[in-house]
């Protein structure tokens, strides 16, 4: 097991190198160090000397990939690419172009993101599973049919509609929760409510439909028929057999997204002014602070790969027939 995880982790390294090269090329073609300097020095009265100084301080005055003037290993290490990318591998994110410590920022902004994503995930799973079960239970009746149609309709509505509508209705019209913002500790509850609700409603269509399919598949299996023949009540069958067996594909599907919960949601966070990693990234894109964007891309890739490994492990835990090799 451990050796498997180690091996998978080793596979991750070339992938992360690839990610790094792609992002580096993309962002440095887009934004030369000169651009960054101008962006950060402000709008009025900026001199050339100030730009040179800015690049100097942040190490952007080095050659991009290969340093001819340096000796030995420094030919590679004394370059922008090395200085900015390789350190990411030891999770040293360095400082943003505006001078902030990115690692510290990430450690601070992670929590608001989690405060949104974890409740969303839990509440979402619970309600989608119950809806799915209800539809499966009433299969073929008007509840099921209208439920499925409703799901398709809700799937077809843009997520932006839910956000704008939710803010308008619950925040502005009903005065139930603050429209946007964030606070720490227990005070966060009232801020978290609306984003979670919006996220929940936005995902209802697709997820309920999918879970319903899983449960129905399960219900048509032989053991359920046997149970039914034994005279077990439909409700018991549903809870005992269908739910427990149906949960396996659902939970293994969830595992892959677990790590990415840290990253938060770009849109929801910026609309509800949640100071999480999602809005951090959006801000960085808008401000063209690419040191941050690169770090976030790297973090995202790492978490994605962790998610893949976790999924594999969870498969073996659930189904002993799958071997890790």
């Amino acid at each position: 097991m451990i050796s498997y995880i180690l091996r998978r982790a080793m596979y991750a390294i070339p992938i992360l190198i690839g990610v790094n090269i792609i992002t580096f090329v993309l962002f440095f073609v887009v934004n030369t160090p000169d651009d960054m300097a101008r962006m950060h020095l402000g709008m009025k009265r900026v001199s050339e000397a100030a730009i040179v100084k800015w690049k100097d301080e942040r190490g952007y005055n080095k050659p991009v990939l290969f340093n001819h003037s340096a000796n030995g290993a420094k030919k590679i290490t004394e370059t922008i690419f090395f200085q900015n990318s390789v350190k990411l591998f030891i999770f040293d994110f360095g400082r943003s172009d505006s001078g902030r410590d990115i690692g510290y920022d990430i450690s601070q902004r992670m929590w608001p993101s989690l405060a949104i994503t974890i409740p969303s995930l839990i509440v979402g799973l619970l309600s989608y599973i119950s809806f799915g079960l209800i539809l499966a239970f009433f299969r073929g009746t008007y509840v099921d049919i209208s439920g499925v149609i409703l799901c398709v309709i809700m799937m077809s509505i843009s997520g932006l509609f839910y956000i704008i509508g939710g803010q308008y209705l619950i925040g502005k019209f009903l005065h139930l929760v603050p429209i946007s913002g964030y606070d720490t500790g227990l005070n966060a509850v009232k801020f978290v409510f609306l984003p979670v609700l919006v996220g929940l409603i936005g995902g209802i269509g697709a997820s309920t439909r999918w879970y319903r399919t899983i449960f129905l598949e399960e219900m048509n299996k032989d053991y359920v028929r046997t149970a039914r023949a034994k005279g077990l009540s439909e409700l018991r069958i549903l809870y005992r057999h269908v739910l427990t067996n149906g949960l396996i594909p659902i939970l293994t599907g969830v595992v892959v997204i677990l790590p990415s919960l840290f990253i938060g949601s770009l849109i929801v966070e910026s609309f509800f002014a949640i100071p999480g990693l999602g809005s951090y990234t959006i801000d960085a894109i808008n401000r063209q602070d690419f040191a941050i964007v690169r770090s976030m891309v790297f973090l995202g890739s790492v978490l994605y790969i962790i998610g893949l490994i976790l999924t594999d492990i969870s498969y073996t835990l659930v189904d002993p027939r799958v071997r890790l090799n």
Partner: protein, 466 residues
Amino acid sequence: MPVIFITDFLIFLLLFGSIAFFLYARKQEHLTAPWKEIKKQPLAMSSAVILSFFIIFGLLDSAHFHPRIETDEKSENVYSNEILSVLDLLLKDLRLKTEKTYSAPLASYSFSKELIELEDGKKIRDYPRLLYGGANLDNPKTDSTSDIIKRISLGFLYGLLISSVIILLIIFSLSKVRNEKFIITLKKCLSKNLETNWMSIFITMSILFIVIAVIYHLSQNYHVFGTDKVGQDVLYQALKSIRTGLVIGTLTTLVMLPFAIAMGLMAGYFRGWVDDVIQYLYTTLNSIPGVLLIAASILLLQVYISNHANDFNSIEQRADLRLLFLCIILGITSWTGLCRLLRAETLKLREIDYVQAAKAFGVSNYKVMLQHLLPNVMHIVMISIVLDFSGLVLAEAVLSYINIGVDPSMYSWGNMINSARLEMAREPIVWWSLTAAFIFMFILVLAANLFSDAVRDAFDPRLREF
């Protein structure tokens, strides 16, 4: 003087490609059988009708040209720099009838008060009359409701008339094809005794024709969906956005298709290091958060455009390039799913006897893939095209919201929502831009979802819902 944008070219390529595929598929038993299944489903057929209406609008909007300038000297044709499409010609009224600023749907007065100078030189602050909305009325306050009702009923009648004529024509030609009497075909249609569910097609078509006729009649004298901040007709914008939605939904898949198919087949067929490389490639791409990749690429394109500003002498061209680029980038972020599916399917297929036999006979790898494997994974490709469509249309709106979507000068539902989101705070609220965009998007995506469900069920019984 015609102008062909890159996306226009690709759209028509796609159109001819689809026709060619259709002709090819007609002879393939395993591809036609599921279609027969689909043709019987009422929802699927209604959706197909709606989709085809959207497609017609999209195609009309994809034929671009420079209009000629009317000049006094007759010797030489002079063309304007403006680029229009056939749809613009048809919607000339909507396009040119712009008000000064906001006006509500079907309104005759402006949305906000203005300083009006009366004839006697006195000034009052009131809602001014619109230039075009309700311009035929002398006294809109009393007459407009009856005028609107008159137009709606007139439109209803016209729509009913047109649709019944078309329906009768269709039944007539059907009866000719089937060598039956007209009445018999008619009865069969009504009792759903034909292989195609004509009844639902007719109903949907009539509804659409009636809606179009009503809107047409109203739009002669009103702004059906109101006007936006600079007085442009919202209905026109929503109609122009159809092309953008369709392009994103279809071209994205088209652009990535060759890669996804080639890579998926190769990975599954050759295995070994080819498989490793391809897997590495798509895991790497997959692990980069999609939005960030899109943001970077769009910025990259902007740099390119501003460095080569002189190569683009019209906004439309710049916008078109950006649209294409967006499709490519969306394709890059989304091809991996299909590639993985194809790889898994190929892994299974390559062990099947006839593929092994073909290999044993020394058929080249290239031929095996093209002749034996590709046709057998075509259904997966088709399913993923239709399934991706609605997601991409919705994605466009979200991307535009964070300013990395289509060009701001391009008509798209995302841009409409984006610029309208501040209007929600207005009091009284300006809801029509947002509503129009959401309604159009909703209808398209709903139709696409229903249709794709049917396609998936028909082609892949394993995934069928119970």
